[in-house]
């Protein structure tokens, strides 16, 4: 497979979905994220790459305030979603997370049926008025998760009984079911085999049509394959942010070049 083939495609200029300005994150006394400025476009896949512990997952979790669950974590700076500061006092993180869905590193379906896994989000947000509507949402989400054909005959089977790749696609379907505007993916393929990875990557490319997708990945090939924009993090700093093609072929910063060519990381 030619990893660079997709890099060539043109990137249209689009609306800014999330704008982060001057973001600082502290874990207790540790300054984990320093001065990050990033603009995430709508209907675009943005990849965060960088060595382990560089803060890319931390930053991702700031985007839907999942870091709120960690007591010692403090976030400073502005993160605007459609121009609204998500760390504003008036914002309820629960409402935010319905808009900004998340897929985790390890597939984590609820130990319930496949149907209930997908239906849970719409149920708690009251997205369906009746059973028929809920059924429709579940089917649509499972189709968007590219798993409908595999599970349509066993929606009552437990979600934990699926294979790893299927579980991850189920989790994507679950995230999609709440009709989010942004999908955050924290190394969604790191627990999957190459075939499942390929399926999920294909799915990510399809999701780009509707959502703004932010993906954290360890695999530079994956970033090159699926993303239009790439941000390179190193030691808590955003070193370089730009179009994927440019980052991988013609990086500006020497640190980016070192990482991409395998000299650091």
């Amino acid at each position: 497979m030619n990893d660079m083939s997709r890099v060539e495609r043109t990137v249209d200029s689009k609306d800014i979905k999330i704008a982060a300005k001057n973001v600082q994150v502290y874990y207790g006394d540790t300054h984990a994220i320093k001065d990050v400025d990033v603009e995430i476009e709508d209907k675009t896949v943005t990849a965060f790459i960088g060595p382990s512990g560089c803060g890319k997952s931390t930053f991702l979790r700031c985007l839907n305030r999942m870091n709120d669950t960690i007591d010692i974590c403090r976030v400073k700076g502005d993160i605007l979603l459609d121009g609204e500061d998500i760390y504003d006092k008036r914002v309820d993180p629960v409402q935010l997370r319905a808009k900004v869905g998340m897929v985790f590193q390890k597939p984590n379906p609820f130990p319930k049926s496949i149907y209930d896994n997908v239906a849970y989000g719409p149920r708690i947000h009251g997205l369906a008025k009746n059973k028929a509507e809920l059924d429709e949402i579940v089917e649509k989400s499972l189709r968007r998760g590219a798993i409908w054909d595999e599970v349509k005959d066993r929606l009552d089977a437990p979600g934990t009984g699926l294979s790893g790749g299927q579980q991850q696609r189920l989790c994507i379907a679950r995230a999609v079911a709440t009709a989010p505007e942004v999908l955050l993916m924290d190394e969604p393929c790191s627990a999957l085999d190459p075939i499942a990875t390929a399926q999920v990557e294909e799915l990510i490319d399809e999701l780009r049509e509707r959502y703004s997708v932010v993906i954290v990945t360890h695999s530079m090939q994956q970033a090159a394959r699926v993303s239009q924009k790439t941000a390179f993090f190193h030691l808590g700093n955003l070193v370089e942010f730009g179009e994927t093609g440019q980052i991988f072929t013609n990086p500006v910063d020497p640190r980016t070049e070192s990482y991409i060519t395998g000299r650091i990381g």
Partner: protein
Amino acid sequence: MTDISQTPGAAPTAKPKSGSLFEKDARTKRRNAAESRFKMYGIAAIGIGLLMLIVLVTNIVTAGTGAFQQTYLELDVDLKADKLDKKGNRNIEDIKKVSTFGYAPLIASALESEVAKLGIQTDLSAKDMGKILSKAAQAELRNYVIANPDEIGKTVSFRFLTNSRVDGYMKGRVTRDSIANDKSISVEQLDFVDQLRDAGVLYKAFNPDFILGADASDQRPEAAGIGVSMLGSLFMMFVVLALALPIGVAASIYLEEFAPQNRLTDIIEVNISNLAAVPSIVFGILGLAVFINYMHLPTSAPLVGGLVLTLMTLPTIIISTRASLKAVPPSIRDAALGVGASKMQAVFHHVLPLAAPGILTGTIIGLAQALGETAPLLLIGMVGFIASNPPDGIVAGFLSPNSAMPAQIYEWSKRADPAFYERAWGGIIILLIFLVTMNTIAVILRRRFERRW
């Protein structure tokens, strides 16, 4: 690579440089010896434990099974109308005027006629013959007559309890030698018992009153039962379950899922662990001071016992609930929060159902612990109370004085008559059956609902 396969079966010529793998070197031998020694210690330790358990169980069973059997004497009693209902109008109030003593002659004459019918030769007076029966026999007869006044004037067949000495003789506890200094029974009476037994009217049979009945006074060990104190324990367990489970689960959910990590919660956590190790008698003192002396709740009541046991059980429930909440993987919470569930929804929809088997197990084990607890009951007056009547109604069950199973057992073990010893052991068997059942339920629940990730 192919060289090796071309010479199959070729003997290795070169000698291994660092000793053969087929011979153990000194260090390996020492290590292996140490390992097998350690295994032996372990097996020995388990063996000792099992041996103790077997000794304990056989001891309890041999000493306690006697309590489930009692010696009875069958008699046909003529319920003479001229003695029981002098006015002849079957008025229940008049019948009640005849005291327990008034029934003694009826039983004595019934025994006399039985002896004559069976052709038993004895030198005993009618009074001495009657002494082989329990003092409870007259009361039993009176209760029957008051309950069935229509039977007056008829001859009714009864199965009376015998005296505890006679019962002991039938069970081998009392012998002709052991009664040398015993004033309550004589060798002649034992001979009489033998004759009755040979005639088939005096025999041992299963005694349901031991399980269902009430405690009896010092004079009548043969009539004592554990049933009423069992009810006392049951009402206490209701109180414990109704209070300890919701309070304990709510406290642990808050501490585990919501509470901020600071010095105050640290202190609370440490103290909950410490409370689990506080001697139970301290909770008894606390109960006495707070519930009885300050709040003026009734003494000896299962309600107070339940409150004290709740205090004692809470730490157990909180610790086990927190452990099972901790065991739910954080990825489940992340998943729920990730789709926009609130923290409470994440806990109640996802974490709690997964932790439920662990919580239930902890609760049942806490209840079992509370069921077997005696010391705190000492101080609130549930020990030493003779539970001679079952509570009438549910409110009375909570508020009227009662005993509890372990307290009853302790009470019996204190009493002078050796016949109570048998009762105490029998009570222990019943208590153990309850505890083993509860623990089995806990294990089954855990197995059944345990989920793995």
